[in-house]
Structures are given as C-alpha cells and as structure tokens.
C-alpha cells in the first residue's frame, strides 16, 4: 500500500457495508463532505466506484500501446534484418525482403509484447508478487465492502463520519492506525 511507512502516525477510519449500492452512496457523500478517501475494498469490481471516489482513469492503456509498438518494431526489424541482411537465403525465388510475408509474425509479436508487458506493469504497479504479505480485511474477498478514510488532520470529525455512514446502512465503523 502507498506510503505505509510514513503513514504510521496517521489514523484511519473504516466503514463496512453489505452491498455495493450503499458503498457507492457512502463513498460519494464522504468525498463531497470533504473526507479524504484512502481506498475502497470490494469482493468484485464495482462499477461507478471510480467516479464515486474520483479516481482518474489508469494510464496502463498507454503502456500497452507503447509495448505493442515496441513489439511491432522488434518483429519487423528481426525479420527484415535476418532475412535480407544478416544471411539472405533464396527461398523459392521470393525477394529477400518479403515484406507482406512478415506481417503474421509481426502481428503476433505485437500482441505478445503488449499483453505481457501490460500485465507485468500491472503487477509491478500494484506491488503484486508471489510472496506478498499484504493484509486483507476479513470477508472482503467474500461479501464485505469496506471504505477507508484517511484522517488527514486533527480536525477529523469521527462522529460526523459515523452518522454519514449510518445513513448509508453501514454495519460497522471503526477507527485504527493501520488496516491493510
């Protein structure tokens, strides 16, 4: 999680919900009320959540595009260089640089590079790896929806937060140093 070391002193508030409708409502209202939303934890991707917490769209599409472009250039260069420059071989009288015949492999390498690099960057960006020791809210991978607020300063009004979430049918609101 982001800045978990430096965030030690900061306190957080977590609100627990039973369904995504309440969660979205609670998150949107909390944001409008001026609370800082640290993150939201859900068992499945909740549509409309990004807008409710004003999360900008991911830039990973650009990574995938650039990786695909890299694969394209690599594929074409590899084929033209090996077939026409490094060791030109006469195959059935075809031109050494048989450009149209290089398209299928170029396409496959474009897809391969784009897909593998996009997923690699996704894992790196999310710090997902085999020996991750990250903590998980109980039941969040099952049927619980959790909204975590960061208590950005001393003026954080816990009572206001509890009332706000109660209006959205939160089943529990707790305070703590560090949750996940």
């Amino acid at each position: 999680m982001r800045d978990i070391e430096s965030a030690k002193a900061v306190r957080f508030t977590a609100a627990f919900f039973e369904n995504e409708g309440d969660l979205i409502g609670g998150a949107a209202e909390a944001r409008l009320a001026g609370f800082e939303i640290y993150d939201v934890y859900t068992p499945f991707p909740v549509h409309g959540m990004d807008r409710a917490v004003a999360l900008p769209p991911s830039r990973l599409t650009w990574i995938a595009f650039l990786a695909g472009a890299l694969g394209l250039v690599f594929g074409l260069t590899l084929q033209v260089w090996t077939s026409a420059y490094d060791w030109p071989l006469n195959v059935g009288g075809k031109p050494f640089n048989s450009f149209p015949l290089f398209i299928p492999v170029t396409f496959e390498l474009t897809v391969l590079f784009s897909g593998l690099i996009a997923i690699g960057v996704l894992f790196a960006r999310n710090r997902m790896w085999l020996f991750s020791k990250r903590k998980v809210f109980e039941r969040v991978t099952n049927d619980r929806f959790v909204l975590v607020l960061k208590q950005s300063d001393a003026s954080f009004d816990m009572e206001k937060a509890v009332n706000l979430f109660a209006r959205h049918n939160a089943i529990n609101v707790v305070e703590g140093d560090q949750f996940v």
């Binding site: 993150d39 990973l60 195959v91 048989s98 299928p104 897909g115 020791k133 903590k135 305070e175 949750f179």
Partner: protein, 474 residues
C-alpha cells in the same frame, strides 16, 4: 495498535439471509431471466464454488482420473515408440505425407478457440452470460492448445530439437529460420496464443484465488493460494487497473483468436495442392474452430453442471446461448462447404473438379459424408428451440459435431493428398495403432488436466458472477 479486523459472523443459514443486492434493488424484473438462478446472496456464491475445492474428491473424480490417466499412458507409449523407432511407425507414405497427426493438431487447436472467444470477444460485446462459463472454457483452451502442440513436436522426429524453430543466434552460421514459411508463422501464432490465453486466464483467477485463500482451512492449500493470489486485497485502485488491463488483453486477444486459425489455414492455403489452395480457408477455418470449440464447451459444461451440482450457475439459458453460436458458426461452415463445391466445379480446372468429385464419391466418401452430415446438417437442428433447450439433445449433438469436425480436418488433409497429379502414385492412407494411440493419449491428457483443474482452481469466476448477480433485478 491495529484494530481487530474480525467482525461477527452472521448466524442465520445462508438461504434465509436476504441477498444484499435484493435489499438494495428490491424490484425484480420479469422481462429478463436472471443469469444465476436461486437469488443467491454474495456469500452463497463463494460457498458454492469454494466448497468444491475444500471438500475431498469424490469417487467419481478418482475413477475419471484413473480412466484419463490410462488413456494418457497409452499416448505416452505411442509417443515413445514413435520417437524411438521413427515416423515409419505411422501409416504415412510418399503420397500422403501429412495425415493423422496434423488432423489431430488442427482438431485440438480448433477446440482451443472457444475459451478465448468467450473470454475476450464476448467480453468486448458485453455478453454477461459468459461469466459462468469463461473460467472453465479458458482452462479448456489452454489444455487443448497443449494437446495440439504435442503433435507437431512429435512429428518433428527429434522433438528435443524443437527449439530450432526459434530465431536465436546459433553455431550454424547463424542460420536463421525462414520467416516466409506459414509453418513458422504457426509456431509464433500458437505460442503467442497460448501465452496470452494463459496470462488472461491467470489474471482472471487472481481475485478468486484470494477468495479461496481467505476461506480454506488446509495449510497446504492456503500456502498455494497465498502465493498465487499475489497479495490480492480487493483494493479499488487495484481493481481499476486490473479492469483496464483486462480490457486491453481482451482487445488484444480478439484479433489473436481470429489470427491463430487463419494462420493454421495458411499451412494449407498457401500451397498449390487442389483442395487446399483456396482463399476462403481463413474464415472457413476460424468459423469451424469456434464451432467445434463451443461444441466441446457445451459437452464439458453439461458434465460439469451435473456432476458438480452447478445447475444454478450454468443454466439452460447459457447452453441455449452457446447453441446459437454453434448454429451461426455451423451455418458458416455449411456455407463454406457449398462454396467449396461450387468454386471447385465452376473453376474449369480439371484438378480442382477432380478433387471435389473425389471427395464426395471417391474412396473416402464415407468420411466426407460424416463430416457434411454432422457439421452442415445436424447443427441446423439448433433452429428448433426444443432442441436448444433439451440438455440431452445438446449433449448428443455437441459430441457429434466434434466427430464431424475431426473428420473435416481428415477430409481436407487426406482426400486432397491421396490422389495427386500423377495417377501412378495414388495411394490410400489408414492410421496405424501407434497413431490411434497418440489420438487416444491426447484425450487422456485433455481429461487428466481438466480434472486436475477442477480440483485446484475455482471452476466458475466467483468475482465476475457476483458482479452479474443483479442482472435482471434492475
């Protein structure tokens, strides 16, 4: 001090708890049939899918595994015999130099087209019913591509040198591979397809592996899911990026699916053999691949829903939707058959005309008519709603379609070769017991791997199903 993350467990049994979604969306629309029956709360979905992993394997599973392993062993024996002795153990001759194993290769690659079609193309078209079948269909794809890959590697004769098809700097010159050859394109297409399908499948699995990790009591299983779930904690930032990459992969996999069987068809279409040298091959092969792949998905899903009691998740509606895909692609295949006959007879080329007549009336006519009957005619039965909704009919037809599709590849390959330009070299081909052993072994590999998949991974995408529980409740 960290606050305890524990919360009180609900005490009522799951059936009596009103689904959270029902509380949020009390209106129930009768206009659309829900995708998942039983109006389940979220945690019921978790329980239904995860208990399959936690419980001990039943006797049926062990018997199936033993039977599959037996078939696999037969295949291993045949493969060892082939590699030890040589390709002479097969029924090939100078006229028919390609037959059984290329048939099996194309057959399995075709089967492998449904999974990524369901997970990528249906995802882009926002077909929500895919969520119940995509996990196992993708697993089926991966296993089918593995089964397919075995055949060309064995056919190489010296399979331990298969890496020579890679363009790597070597001590032979460097002698590069021939990038103008469709067989090399095939290698790139299939290895890319396998890799992208595998990461796509794994990416979809990660959140469900986390669900399994947080549920299981067994220490060994917990470690297994802990490692593979990569510390997934359901954070919305993670979900947001995850969905972005999932969409990107779907967009990449969509043309990839179409490219793979197009390139397989180039193996034939770029040659000058009458019966192979045909411009309709790429769309014809792709339609045939999706056709056979969906038929195989239906066969497996009917077994899985029955044996694992997943009738609420894989409903007759899912099967009916797949029947419609089979009907569409089957009709494209039928159109291709008729087009082939027409263009052959109308070509004015005596060799082309001969190949068409020889297919329908020659010594392999029986194979041709099995192919035509199973694919072009039987698939048309799905125009009838009664058959599209009858589980027994779907099961029987889906198997017959795959018999037909196996024969399609056999007909294309063998009937085009066995009577070539020179009548003195005409020959017949029949498989040897070794070749049949390899085919049987590939089915053994397929079912063994699928049975292991059923025990290790959530067979239905838990997180995606939770996302569509509200379908028809708005």
């Amino acid at each position: 001090m960290a606050v305890s993350l524990k919360q009180p467990e609900l005490t009522q049994p799951a059936e009596q708890v009103k689904s959270a979604f029902e509380i949020a969306h009390p209106v129930y629309s009768e206009l659309r049939t829900p995708l998942i029956l039983g109006r389940k709360p979220y945690r019921q979905v978790t329980v239904d899918i995860c208990h399959l992993l936690d419980s001990k394997a039943g006797r049926g599973w062990w018997i199936s595994l033993a039977a599959s392993l037996l078939l696999l062993v037969a295949g291993v024996v045949a493969a060892v015999h082939t590699v030890n002795t040589g390709i002479g153990t097969w029924g090939l001759n100078r006229t028919v130099g390609w037959a059984f194993d290329i048939t099996n290769f194309v057959f399995w690659i075709g089967i492998g087209h449904a999974g990524t079609f369901i997970s990528a193309i249906l995802f882009l078209f926002n077909q929500k019913w895919r969520t119940s079948v995509n996990r196992s269909a993708e697993a089926m794809t991966l296993i089918a591509v593995m089964c397919a890959g075995v055949f060309p590697i064995i056919h190489m004769g010296r399979p331990w040198l298969f890496y020579w098809v890679l363009p790597y700097p070597n001590t032979r010159g460097t002698l590069w591979v021939n990038f103008r050859s469709p067989l090399l394109w095939d290698f790139f297409a299939i290895s890319t397809y396998f890799t992208i399908s595998a990461v796509f499948w794994y990416l979809g699995l990660v959140p469900d592996l986390a669900t399994a990790r947080d549920r299981t009591k067994s220490k060994l299983r917990k470690t297994f899911y802990q490692v593979l779930s990569l510390g997934w904690n359901g954070s919305n930032r993670t979900w947001s990026r995850y969905e972005t990459v999932y969409t990107v992969l779907a967009a990449l996999a969509t043309p990839l699916v179409l490219s793979v069987h197009s390139i397989v068809s180039f193996d034939f279409a770029t040659s000058l053999i009458p019966g192979w040298h045909s411009t309709i091959f790429p769309p014809y092969f792709v339609a045939g691949a999706v056709f056979s792949g969906f038929a195989m998905v239906m066969t497996l899903m009917i077994l899985v829903r029955k044996l694992l009691h997943l009738e609420d998740y894989i409903t007759p509606q899912h099967l009916e939707n797949m029947c419609k895909v089979v009907l569409l692609t089957g009709s494209i295949v039928a159109l291709a058959y008729i087009t082939e006959i027409f263009t052959g007879l109308y070509s004015g080329n005596p060799n082309e005309i001969f190949v068409i007549i020889n297919r329908g009336l020659g010594p392999y006519a029986w194979a041709y008519w099995i192919m035509f009957g199973c694919n072009a005619l039987l698939s048309q039965l799905f125009w009838f709603k009664r058959l599209r909704t009858s589980i027994v009919a779907i099961f029987v037809l889906s198997i017959l379609i795959n018999v037909g599709m196996w024969f399609e590849r056999f007909v294309i390959i063998v009937t085009s070769l066995h009577r070539d330009f020179l009548p003195s070299s005409w020959a017949m081909y029949s498989p040897t017991i070794t070749e049949v052993g390899l085919l049987v072994g590939s089915f053994g590999l397929f079912f063994t791997a699928f049975l292991i998949f059923l025990r290790l991974f959530p067979v239905i995408s838990i997180n995606e199903v939770k996302g569509v529980l509200g379908y028809a409740r708005h």
